[in-house]
């Protein structure tokens, strides 16, 4: 964090605390993309994103007085957002029903080497199946796995965000991996996504909806 950014954050928060709408808007705009990306990787879709993003930022503004500037503002906001995601996953776990997977993807695997479009579709299907497995994990394990493996955060950062020890976080990530490997053993589409034949990983860009 540069000095200028840090001081900017501090002064922006003070303006937000006075209820200045322009400052509130500025803070939201500065952090929304990062928070949205993290939440998306945790949830796997934008289905409940409006409510979750709103809940996370409202929680941020309601707790803003408690930010003591000991942590960077971005880290603190991420922590609040992860807590909201945890609550959301806990609620959803009681009513989630995974959509039946499309068998067309498995058919596509039977003829490798066709047009790039078909392979991209295969990759998208792999993502869908990955999240289907993640739906079966506990909220804590899912958060640990997605923040570390999908969002690319270090184990220490992940542990701080989820409020667990580093050891517990490592264990959760390891168990989640084992679970996914077990699912991949029985699902060729997921296996192809995780370990593509020939090591040719297909990168989906952000504009490609799942």
């Amino acid at each position: 964090v540069t000095a200028a950014l840090y001081v900017e954050d501090v002064l922006l928060v003070d303006r937000c605390l006075t209820g200045e709408p322009a400052a509130t808007r500025e803070l939201f705009r500065r952090h929304r993309n990062r928070v949205h990306a993290s939440l998306f990787r945790v949830l796997g879709s934008n289905r409940d994103m409006d409510d979750l993003l709103q809940e996370a930022f409202l929680q941020v503004f309601q707790s803003l007085r408690g930010w003591r500037a000991e942590a960077g503002l971005a880290t603190w906001i991420d922590r609040v957002a992860v807590r909201c995601a945890y609550r959301h996953l806990s609620r959803r776990a009681r009513r989630v029903s995974t959509d039946p997977l499309d068998d067309d993807a498995a058919v596509a695997l039977a003829s490798p080497g066709e047009a790039p479009g078909a392979r991209r579709q295969l990759a998208r299907d792999g993502v869908v199946r990955l999240y289907a497995v993640l739906d079966e994990l506990s909220p804590a394990a899912r958060l640990a796995f997605t923040l570390h493996e999908l969002d690319g955060r270090s184990i220490a950062d992940t542990a701080e965000l989820v409020g667990s020890s580093v050891t517990a976080t490592k264990l959760r990530v390891w168990r989640a991996r084992k679970r996914i490997e077990a699912a991949a053993a029985a699902d060729p589409v997921l296996r192809e996504f995780l370990e593509p034949a020939g090591g040719d990983v297909i990168q989906l860009d952000d504009r490609e909806a799942l």
Partner: protein, 429 residues
Amino acid sequence: VKLAGRIPVEPLDDERITHIERRVVAGAVDAAIAGRGLRPARRVVARALVVAAIGAAGFAGWMLRGAPDARPAVSEPAAIRVHTDSERSRLELGDATIESDPATAFTVTRPDGGVLVALSRGRLELEVGKRAGRPPLIVRAGDTDVVVIGTHFTVDYGDGTDGADGRGGVDVRVQEGVVRVVHRQQETLVAAGEQWRTGRGLIAAADRDAPPPSAADRASSRSAGDGTVASGGAVATGGTIASGARPVPVAPAPEVLRDRRATAPDATTLAPPPGVKASPPARSAGGEAMRARAPAGPGNPQGDLRAAIRAQRVEPALDLGGPDATRAITSYYEIAAHRSGDEASQAFYSIAVVNHLKLGRDSDALRSLDAYVRRFPGGKEYRAALWLRVRILCLGKIDDRCRAAAYTYLHEAPDGPAAHVAERLTLSD
């Protein structure tokens, strides 16, 4: 297999983002307003508790003082003797404040639960809170008593002579409320804006702005004889009210007035040795502190408070070896952002000091202080930062924000060097 970066993020469309933003901003503003709303409520409750505690302590003090002679050694508070030579002094007695001019001598005692201020010579200015149901505060100057119910006024006893030879006498001027002047068994009510003088009695409001009488004025007015109407105003003598002033019913004098042996000692015998300005504070049986402070500022309470604020030391900023203020602030920012512990806290505090004292940017200074208080709640400069907030807010205007800051300082640093000023600010009206 590395999965990081392989999960594409589907962006939210502009309409959804705008919708979320609108709801978040509205909620955030509501939250800020609710947060602000809580603070005054807390402050009011806290202030009420402070006032109640002070009141309870005062009441307990009075009750214990008035108790039968169970503990005679402490039941009668010691007299407070004040003798000023070249400077003003200020004496606080719970709900009464007595300021005295240079070359003034007076003694305070507590006969029958009341307060008796025996003025030997000089001029006093008193501000007395309402004494509903309690014995009055009386200023006795020679054979004149000024009985106070709750007011702001001055009593000038000149050189301490009674005016019989045409010099001296007592001059009473009332700024707020009303006092009762008892002189030779005659009572006169003197209201705000009015004046009473020995030998001349009540002087109507028309004369209010006239300068206080000099010794020569007094001599000349005395030589004209009692009962002569001075130019520019109505004069009452011996309790008789002249035209333009209202008649005053003469009520029986309270016990403390009839007892002329009241414990108002002779000032000449009480005056402390030369060089001693005032006796040390005395403590009553109930623990009520009486503090003599000197010197005081100008007469008006707000000006006095501001003078007291300015008199308090401000902890200096971190010394960087003399760059100009703007460059120093940039350096402080660097230190605050990249270092931790004492260095960071000192740098943060220094930003506020330089902004306030050198650049006159009070709002920037306040923002830095707010950030300091949040980030370093136990920091080395924490108390100094709280005091600097008080200084910035209260030098501008003594309002609720100032009082809230003063209360916070008082709460966090009850034994701090500026606690007495913060207390006065917290309780100021």
